[in-house]
């Protein structure tokens, strides 16, 4: 998976347009994501982030434009596209009535993988859910649900991972857990497309950041490239945020593991 030539983008989006009735959500979106990198689609609510991801995930058809994932066109080869990616949607798409382990086994069986049980156990261990693995998911905390949700997306090691606002609605500890996971994914060579409305999240995780505003990409580059575009005031604001977070985590006494993550 890591041997793929960097010349071919893992995700290529060109001229994507989508309207709901008279409301134009996407007005010509273009971007490329290089294999093995983390790409953040940054934008406020209603900017078209989720619509873009749904089109890439073959859940929605665009009105115009093309989208190619892992070399397969979403319009003409949707089945091959679905073999190439996994989606973690905006809301934790987990089965509340099943246990965490059963959720993972279910996904592994649907992907026709050998030995679903040990795949599930490995992922439970990797996401620190081994103790909770036998419990019904309805008893999980928000952060645990999100971890399980992401773990379910990693069954079968898809080369491309879509994360749609993975930390929305999570508390600071849960957010740090998810950040750590995304960093690990990138470290293992997966291509990650992440949408977020948080500047600091894009800053922490992404190799490249595209700003989606009113259905168009208005800026696209690495963090240092984008910094030159941003007014200094915004940069100050971003620098203040982690301080409050550190105070919060120190006051509530986060464990050592999370503390080291904050400092990295």
């Amino acid at each position: 998976m890591t041997a793929r030539s960097t010349a071919v983008p893992a995700i290529r989006v060109q001229g994507l347009e989508k309207s709901y009735g008279t409301l134009k959500v996407l007005r010509g979106v273009d971007f490329d994501v290089a294999p093995g990198t983390v790409f953040a689609l940054l934008g406020s609510n209603g900017s078209g982030k989720t619509t873009s991801v749904r089109i890439l995930a073959t859940l929605l058809k665009p009105d115009a434009g093309t989208a190619v994932v892992n070399g397969f066109d979403v319009a003409t080869q949707p089945a091959r596209v679905r073999e190439s990616f996994s989606l973690t949607g905006q809301f934790s798409a987990v089965d509340d009535i099943l246990s965490g382990r059963e959720n993972l086994v279910l996904i592994a069986r649907l992907l026709h993988l050998d030995d679903p049980g040990s795949i599930a156990d490995d992922l439970l261990d990797r996401f620190s859910l081994t103790d909770a693995g036998g419990r019904k998911v309805s008893t999980y905390s928000g952060g645990m649900r999100r971890r399980l949700d992401i773990a379910m997306s990693l069954v079968g090691n898809p080369p491309v991972i879509f994360l749609d606002e993975p930390t929305t609605g999570l508390d600071p500890e849960g957010r740090i857990e998810v950040w750590q996971t995304v960093k690990e994914l990138a470290g293992h060579g997966a291509t990650v497309l992440l949408t977020t409305q948080y500047l600091d999240e894009a800053e922490q995780l992404a190799d490249r950041i595209a700003i989606l505003h009113q259905g168009r990409i208005i800026a696209n580059g690495s963090l240092s490239e984008l910094r030159q575009l941003l007014p200094p005031a915004t940069v100050e604001y971003v620098e203040k945020q982690p301080t409050l977070e550190e105070i919060f985590l120190a006051v509530i006494g986060g464990d050592d593991e999370t503390a080291t993550i904050t400092n990295t």
């Binding site: 929605l60 073999e83 009535i97």
Partner: protein, 253 residues
């Protein structure tokens, strides 16, 4: 259809069947309404209703069975609605699986859950004095008709399950279906009803289905009524399936 259609459907059906077995209260609440009605009609109203020579519990059981199915399918819609809302439906749709298997799993689960409910209601009816000398072929015919009726109503339930905006909306469609047997031959002979009501009662699906099952239980010849009953079931099934698939296509790309 992908080569994994059956395998994927089996896995997904196993998943939604766990929803039934882990919340048996859905089966209990499904059978409470028909059982309560059965008690009311047999022990309160039944004495005042002239059904000829048959005992009243025998007379009204077919209608009660249809009410059982009508109340059971509101959970079919509910389970599908929850899957839509929680996002797990989209997760399945975004995976390399047989996509329609997600819907078929809910349909098969609905069939099993309703079969359980029907078995419980028949069991209660037996305790209340229901008796039939019907042989194996007659029971197989009754099972076949109930199977078709459940399948037809299940596909009706798929429509609100996919498209409802709220939980209440997803379940509310079942109430008219539960009510329909009251304006039929299910509890009182239609000849006692005033003209227009009687005309409606005699030409709606429940009457032909109830009459057919009743005659099979009483070991009487079913006559042409069975064809009317089957035509209604198949007609509703086809229409519901078409609308359900249209709702399904609106939901997925």
């Amino acid at each position: 259809m992908t080569p994994y259609f059956f395998g994927d459907t089996v896995v997904l059906t196993g998943r939604s069947l766990r929803h039934v077995t882990r919340s048996m209260d859905t089966i209990i609440t499904t059978v409470i309404t028909p059982v309560a009605m059965m008690l009311m009609f047999v022990f309160v109203f039944g004495g005042a209703i002239d059904t000829g020579t048959t005992s009243y519990v025998n007379y009204m059981l077919p209608g009660i069975l249809l009410i059982t199915v009508a109340s059971g399918i509101s959970y079919t819609a509910y389970r599908l609605f929850v899957d839509m809302k929680s996002g797990i439906f989209e997760r399945f749709q975004s995976m390399p699986i047989a996509r329609s298997g997600v819907l078929w799993a809910h349909v098969l689960t609905s069939m099993v859950a309703n079969l359980l409910s029907l078995a419980i209601v028949v069991g209660v009816a037996l305790l209340m004095g229901f008796r039939s000398g019907a042989g194996v072929p007659a029971w197989m015919a009754i099972s076949g008709i109930l199977f078709l009726f459940t399948l037809a109503l299940t596909w009706i339930a798929v429509i609100p399950g996919l498209s409802a905006a709220s939980v209440e909306g997803a379940g509310a469609f079942a109430y008219p279906l539960i009510f329909l047997p009251f304006i039929s031959s299910a509890f009182v002979p239609t000849r006692t009803m005033p003209g227009p009501v009687r005309a409606f009662a005699e030409h709606q699906p429940v009457t032909s289905i109830v009459d057919t099952i009743r005659r099979l239980l009483a070991q009487q010849p079913v006559g042409g009524e069975v064809w009317t009953a089957l035509a209604w079931c198949v007609g509703i099934l086809v229409a519901a399936y078409v609308f359900a698939m249209a709702a399904y296509r609106r939901k997925i790309a």
